[in-house]
């Protein structure tokens, strides 16, 4: 490979536009390009990180001063079998491409993120979970097989049976063992393009968590919205959305509801305002006072418990409702902190965290809760309990304070046996990571790393931050 690296120098960002890392971005079309880039990097003494659409909240796909493989070019759905629901894709295929391909045939991706813009390579690298994590686990549990290129140039095929150690380490392995080149997934059968959603309010954190726990078993999906401004007796109040897939026969006309024409997010708000400009109107609200009122209004609207049917994409891809919504946070952007806590300790820990955010004067503008169960991946973030994701606005003046607060959050989480998700938190440091994963897990990972990547070519800003 020969190219002028200087002209590939690109200012790459995280999803929230809150941090930048200039890197040499090399477009990848074929597996051979990955090998070429590895050779090139080795010769020049540079580190390599793969990147899809770059919409992680943190630095997992950033590699300041190094090479970033732009995987978006490897975006072919190689094989799709509507009879079995097995699909084989290149890693740059997005969830959007995938569901639009399989849905008209009566299938749906088993696990999806809150946005459909993510690539499958990225989804596997961080082992994404959805609102159905407590039922079906993370996306890794639905991978039949994948092929990855190791920095040695070897192409390796992994499944739960074959190279199982690498299978469970590379899924969720943050892209630090190899680069996915082909991913085979099992889709799930659906009998309608609609889900039946129950929505009801929860007045405080105890009810919030007990409702998540009690209503999860009778639903396929469950997610809570949490008003992080509320304090006192109302702390942790919010609304729960629990959804159920329709069984065969419940939808008299599944062909129609599964049709792509009935599966698109409306592009105008109230039928008038184009949604592409909506983020400009949201911007003036994005401050502590404005968002307090937005959250109160949201809660008042939630007080009416109701049941309705909604299309699959509307229910799943909340983050895609308003295009570029993250821009409304202003030039400092946003970050997210997500903590996974055991059932017993979640309530107290989150009460402490939310109070702390009020004390710091940095309330979260949006809180989202989910129900989880453990899985067997090496760097798993999941456990038997709940997760809370909190969005924070970043400004030029609050960065140091915000960072200090998030480190406090990490301490609270670790003290009660909680876990972190490395696609989200940006301030978790090496010390917290060691406490979280434990020396044994880290040693296992390092051993696999040595085997797959003997020259240490694969490194991201995240890897240097949490494993240095």
């Amino acid at each position: 490979m020969s190219l002028n690296l200087n002209t590939t120098f690109t200012q790459l960002e995280n999803f929230g536009h809150s941090f930048q890392a200039p890197s040499y971005r090399i477009p990848i079309q074929r597996p051979e390009d990955i090998y070429g880039a590895f050779q090139f990097a080795k010769k020049l003494g540079l580190k390599v990180t793969a990147r899809g659409t770059g919409i992680s909240y943190n630095d997992v796909s950033l590699n300041g001063g190094g090479i970033v493989l732009d995987m978006r070019g490897m975006n072919q759905i190689a094989e799709w079998d509507p009879a079995t629901g097995v699909v084989r894709c290149e890693p740059g295929v997005t969830l959007e491409q995938l569901w639009q391909r399989v849905e008209p045939d009566g299938w749906w991706p088993p696990v999806v993120s809150g946005t459909m813009k993510t690539t499958l390579g990225g989804c596997l690298a961080v082992n994404i979970h959805g609102k159905n994590n407590f039922q079906v686990g993370p996306i890794g549990e639905h991978v039949i097989e994948f092929t990855a290129m190791l920095p040695t140039g070897a192409l390796i095929i992994c499944s739960p049976k074959k190279n199982a150690d690498l299978f469970y380490a590379m899924i969720g392995g943050l892209g630090m063992l190899g680069v996915f080149t082909s991913i085979t997934l099992q889709m799930k059968r659906i009998f309608s393009g609609l889900v039946a959603v129950d929505a009801w309010p929860v007045p405080n954190l105890s009810r919030h968590l007990s409702d998540l726990r009690e209503h999860a078993p009778s639903h396929d999906y469950i997610v809570g919205w949490l008003d992080a401004f509320a304090s006192g007796n109302s702390l942790g109040r919010g609304q729960i959305h629990a959804a159920r897939q329709l069984n065969e026969g419940e939808d008299p006309n599944p062909k129609k509801t599964e049709d792509l024409a009935n599966q698109h997010l409306p592009d105008r708000f109230f039928g008038v305002v184009p949604k592409s400009v909506l983020h400009y109107f949201m911007k003036p609200m994005m401050n502590n006072v404005g968002m307090r009122f937005v959250n109160i209004g949201r809660y008042l609207l939630a007080l009416r418990a109701h049941t309705f049917r909604q299309s699959y994409d509307e229910f799943h891809f909340l983050l895609d409702y308003v295009p570029d919504w993250e821009r409304s946070f202003g030039r400092g952007g946003l970050i997210q902190h997500q903590s996974f806590l055991p059932e017993e300790t979640a309530g107290d820990a989150w009460r402490e965290m939310i109070r702390l955010s009020h004390h710091f004067g940095l309330p979260s503008f949006l809180g989202v809760t989910k129900r989880h169960r453990p899985d067997q991946f090496l760097l798993t973030h999941s456990l038997n309990g709940f997760s809370l994701a909190l969005d924070f606005k970043v400004t030029d003046t609050n960065r140091a304070k915000l960072s200090a607060m998030l480190q406090e959050f990490d301490r609270i989480v670790l003290d009660v046996g909680g876990r972190f998700y490395f696609a989200k938190n940006s301030e978790t440091n090496a010390e917290s990571t060691r406490k979280f994963l434990g020396d044994e897990t880290i040693a296992k990972l390092k051993k696999l790393k040595k085997r797959c990547d003997p020259n240490g070519l694969l490194e991201s800003d995240l890897y240097r931050r949490i494993f240095s």
């Binding site: 002028n4 890392a21 200039p22 001063g65």
Partner: protein, 269 residues
């Protein structure tokens, strides 16, 4: 970290440790071991920059890095002679990788070797001045301009001189090297502004550095390098285009630039 150590020009506390939310900006100073370069290094370190410092003298650089790092800065030394043009691309790659990116570049490296009289000529030393002051700058700023243009971000600061504003009897080689640098920086500015890159040309007058000793005759309005560094930092923050340090030189040079040639030809400075 030594508690008793008082860093030069220290007015602020220790920079905060770097995290994604509190990243260090990344600066490269070419010609950092003494005088203005060293002062700029201290000031940028205080501002929270991670720094790559380049100069010929490894010893002086290491001492400077040690000083900066002992008060919580993050400076790395690279021994380099700016006339080793072929070394630039690989060294730049290494620096950018070590810093994790690059935001600001300051080209300070400069030599001044007057021929020693208004009737003396010395091609060898003229050539050296052009090689260090101008071609060295071009060797570095070419790949950097290319990178910043591609990234649509960055700031380039070139330390030129008031000596580049007119060709004078005392030091034709130095005048030429600095005039060339000023023009080169202007051309870069005209190319890069549209890509969101700022190019600042600094024209210092006399500074109380080693180089001052080379200057024949009187040296009016000479300022300490730390004062010049303050002027430069302020201009960098405001993303200015051209500054004189000290500012009074703007007016002096305005007069000198407009002095007609028939007068200039009779002058002896």
């Amino acid at each position: 970290m030594s508690e008793s150590f008082t860093p030069i020009g220290s007015t602020q506390g220790k920079p905060a440790p770097a995290t994604p939310l509190n990243p260090r900006r990344r600066g490269l100073i070419i010609g950092a071991s003494t005088g203005l370069g060293a002062e700029l290094a201290h000031k940028l370190a205080r501002e929270g920059y991670a720094l790559a410092l380049l100069a010929r003298s490894k010893e002086k650089l290491d001492a400077l890095c040690y000083e900066i790092n002992s008060y919580g800065g993050d400076a790395h030394s690279y021994e380099h002679n700016v006339t080793d043009y072929d070394e630039v691309p690989s060294l730049l790659l290494k620096i950018v990788a070590n810093l994790g990116g690059l935001d600001t570049v300051i080209y300070v490296a400069s030599i001044n070797q007057p021929p020693g009289g208004i009737d003396k000529y010395n091609f060898a030393s003229d050539r050296q001045m052009v090689e260090v002051n101008l071609i060295g700058a071009m060797a570095w700023l070419t790949p950097i301009a290319e990178m910043f243009q591609s990234a649509k971000a960055g700031q380039i600061v070139g330390i030129s001189s008031v000596a580049g504003d007119r060709g004078r009897v005392g030091n034709p080689g130095y005048n030429t090297s600095k005039a060339g640098l000023t023009t080169y920086l202007e051309a870069l500015r005209n190319r890069l502004t549209r890509h969101g890159v700022n190019v600042l040309t600094v024209k210092p007058g006399f500074m109380k550095t080693e180089m001052l000793k080379a200057a024949p005759g009187p040296t009016p309005f000479a300022i300490e390098p730390s004062v010049a560094a303050d002027h430069i930092l302020k201009a960098m923050k405001k993303r200015k285009q051209v500054i004189y340090a000290a500012p009074i030189w703007r007016w002096i040079m305005l007069a000198i630039q407009h002095t007609p040639s028939f007068v200039f030809r009779k002058l002896s400075f």
